[in-house]
C-alpha cells in the first residue's frame, strides 16, 4: 500500500506520517523538510497555491498510482482536496481522526458539529485529517528529499500579514489552563497567570476569548475550529463547555473545570469540577500549591 500525503504545515505533516508509518509506504508533499518521520520521499515545494499544488499532486498520482491520498485539513489542504476529488472523480472523506484497515477501511470523524462521531466503512481514496490529533514521532532513518517543481500559479498575493503567533504550540503542551468568557476582561488574565506559572503550563482559551475579544492570540483557541489539544491536564476556567469547545479537548487525559454555574455542560465532561467563583477558586488553588 502506498499513500501520498499533503500538508502546508510541517507539524501536521509529521503527525500524519507518524500515524501511517509502517501501515503503508508514504510520499509527502510539504513546504517543510519533514524527513525525520518515516516517509520514503519528501517533495518540498515553495510558492504553492491551490492550482499549481493540485496539478502537482495529480501528476504525482498519475505517475505513481497511490492507493490513498491524504491531506491535512488546513485551509489550503481542504481546497486542494476538493479540486483533486473532482479531477479524479473520487470521493473524499473529510476531517477524519482515525483510519483503521483490516480488509475494509474504517474511519472516524465528528459529525453534527462535534455532537456525534461517525464511524464509517468506506471505499474512498482521498481523506482529509484534522490537525493536532496524532502524535508526531521522529525516527532514525531519513527520507529522500527532493525539490518539487511547481508550475506557476494564476494567483497573486498583494499583501501578507504574519499573525502574531505566540510561540508555544498548545497542541504539544502537557498542562493547559484554558480561559473562557467567564473571565470577564483581558486584564483579568493577570489573575490566572499565577496558576499557569505554578503548574508550568500553557494558557489557552475558548473561541470568544481568542477570536471575538482577542484577549489571547488566535493560535491559542481550543475547539472544533481551533486546536485539538491532548495534554495530561486541561483546566477549563470560566468555560461553559459548548460542544464545539469539547471537540478540541476529547484527548485530554484529565479535565478539571472551574465554573460558577453548577449546570454548565462542562461538568458533564470533566473528571473533577469545582462549582465556584473563579476569582476566589484560582487564588486559593495557587495558595495551596505553594505550600
Amino acid at each position: 500500500m502506498r499513500c501520498l500525503v499533503f500538508s502546508d504545515n510541517g507539524d501536521n505533516a509529521g503527525e500524519i506520517i507518524s500515524y501511517f508509518y509502517k501501515k503503508m509506504d508514504i510520499d509527502v508533499i510539504c513546504n517543510d523538510s519533514v524527513i525525520d518521520y518515516g516517509a520514503d520521499n519528501v517533495y518540498k515545494y515553495s510558492n504553492g497555491f491551490s492550482d499549481n499544488l493540485s496539478e502537482y499532486l495529480l501528476e504525482m498520482h498519475n505517475k505513481n498510482k497511490y492507493d490513498y491520498i491524504i491531506l491535512s485539513s488546513t485551509n489550503l489542504g481542504r481546497q486542494i482536496a476538493g479540486i483533486i476529488s473532482d479531477k479524479l472523480n473520487e470521493k473524499c472523506m473529510p476531517e477524519i481522526f482515525s483510519f483503521e484497515k483490516n480488509g475494509k477501511i474504517v474511519t472516524k470523524r465528528f459529525f453534527y458539529g462535534g455532537k456525534t462521531v461517525l464511524e464509517e466503512e468506506t471505499g474512498f481514496k482521498i481523506f482529509t485529517i484534522s490537525p493536532g490529533i496524532f502524535e508526531a514521532k521522529k525516527i532514525d532513518k531519513k527520507s529522500n528529499l527532493t525539490e518539487a517543481k511547481l508550475n506557476s500559479s494564476k494567483y497573486k498575493i498583494l499583501n501578507e500579514k504574519q499573525k502574531n503567533a505566540s510561540g508555544n504550540d498548545i497542541t504539544r503542551a502537557k498542562i493547559i489552563v484554558s480561559i473562557g468568557r467567564g473571565l470577564g476582561s483581558k486584564e483579568n488574565i493577570e489573575k490566572i497567570m499565577p496558576l499557569v506559572d505554578a503548574l508550568h503550563g500553557e494558557i489557552a482559551g475558548s473561541r470568544p476569548v481568542c477570536l471575538d475579544y482577542k484577549w489571547l492570540p488566535e493560535d491559542k483557541q481550543v475547539g472544533l475550529s481551533g486546536k485539538k489539544v491532548k495534554p495530561d491536564l486541561y483546566i477549563a476556567v470560566g468555560i461553559s463547555g459548548q460542544i464545539q469547545h469539547l471537540a478540541g479537548i476529547r484527548n485530554a487525559k484529565t479535565i478539571i473545570a472551574i465554573n460558577k454555574d453548577k449546570n454548565a455542560p462542562i461538568f458533564e465532561e470533566c473528571d473533577y469540577g469545582i462549582v465556584g467563583d473563579l476569582f476566589s477558586v484560582v487564588p486559593e488553588l495557587v495558595e495551596k500549591l505553594k505550600k
Partner: protein, 243 residues
C-alpha cells in the same frame, strides 16, 4: 455584480437528543440555515448594496428548505432556487447538482461558507472551482472589488493573505467576515410572499460508504464535582501530582 450564494439547510444540532445506546436521534428535528451560509448571504448582500447587481440563492435540499430561502430573501437575496433530492452529506454529489444549476445563471461571483456546520467538510469550494473552472479564494474575512478584480483577505493558520483574482471567482467565507443581519418584520413578511423556484434532480447516491455507528463520543470522565470548599483541597492534591 451578479452574485450566487450557496445556502445549506441543516438540522438544528443543538436539539439533537441521544437514545439509550447513545445514538443521535435525527428524525423530526427542527431545521435551520447553516451558520456559514448566513455569513455567505450577508457577504453577498453587502456586495450588492455596494456595487449593485443581483443576488441569487441556491439550496440543494428538500421541500422543507423554503424556510431557509425565505430567511435569505428577508436578508436581501433577490431570487432563489431550491433543488430537491438532497439525502446526505456527499460533497461530490452536492457539487455536481450545484454546479449544473450555477451554469444556467449569469454570475460574476459565487459565495459559499468555508466549512458547513454539520459535516465541516470544506470540500465544496474546491469541487466547485474545479467543476466551473473559476478562481478560488478561500476563508475570506474581507472582499473588495477593484477594477474588475476581486481582492480577498484570506485567513489561514499562520497569516492573513490578501489575494487578487479576476472575475468570475468563487469565494468561501469565514465566520469572522461579518455579523449576519436580523431582518425586521416588514422584510420577513415581504419575503414570505416572494416566489421560490423549486426544481428536481435525478442524481443518484452511491453506496460506497457504510455508516457503522453515529454515536455521541464516549464519555469516560469521572465527573467528580465539588460544590463546597472541600473541592479546593482535593483538586490541589491532584494538581500537586501532575505538576
Amino acid at each position: 455584480m451578479d452574485i450566487i450564494v450557496l445556502i445549506k439547510q441543516t438540522v438544528d444540532m443543538d436539539q439533537i437528543k441521544l437514545n439509550d445506546s447513545n445514538e443521535a436521534i435525527t428524525e423530526n428535528l427542527p431545521l435551520k440555515t447553516d451558520i456559514l451560509s448566513k455569513n455567505a448571504i450577508e457577504a453577498a448582500v453587502q456586495l450588492k448594496e455596494k456595487y449593485g447587481g443581483n443576488v441569487t440563492g441556491i439550496i440543494f435540499g428538500t421541500e422543507k428548505a423554503t424556510s431557509s430561502m425565505k430567511e435569505a430573501y428577508a436578508m436581501g437575496v433577490d431570487d432563489g432556487y431550491i433543488i430537491k433530492g438532497y439525502e446526505k452529506s456527499d460533497p461530490l454529489i452536492t457539487s455536481k447538482v450545484l454546479s449544473d444549476k450555477i451554469k444556467t445563471i449569469k454570475n460574476d461571483l459565487i459565495i459559499l461558507g468555508n466549512q458547513s456546520s454539520d459535516s465541516y467538510s470544506g470540500l465544496l469550494q474546491g469541487l466547485l472551482a474545479s467543476k466551473l473552472n473559476v478562481s478560488l479564494l478561500s476563508n475570506a474575512i474581507k472582499i473588495e472589488i477593484n477594477n474588475g478584480n476581486v481582492d480577498v483577505t484570506t485567513e489561514s493558520e499562520n497569516e492573513d493573505i490578501i489575494m487578487e483574482s479576476p472575475l468570475p471567482a468563487i469565494i468561501s467565507v469565514a465566520q469572522e467576515i461579518n455579523e449576519p443581519r436580523l431582518p425586521n418584520v416588514m422584510k420577513i413578511m415581504a419575503a414570505g410572499r416572494k416566489n421560490i423556484n423549486i426544481e428536481d434532480t435525478d442524481i443518484k447516491y452511491g453506496d460506497d460508504d457504510k455508516i457503522l455507528s453515529n454515536k455521541a463520543p464516549e464519555n469516560k470522565r469521572k465527573k467528580i464535582v465539588y460544590e463546597d470548599s472541600k473541592g479546593i483541597d482535593e483538586i490541589a492534591k491532584i494538581l500537586r501530582v501532575v505538576k
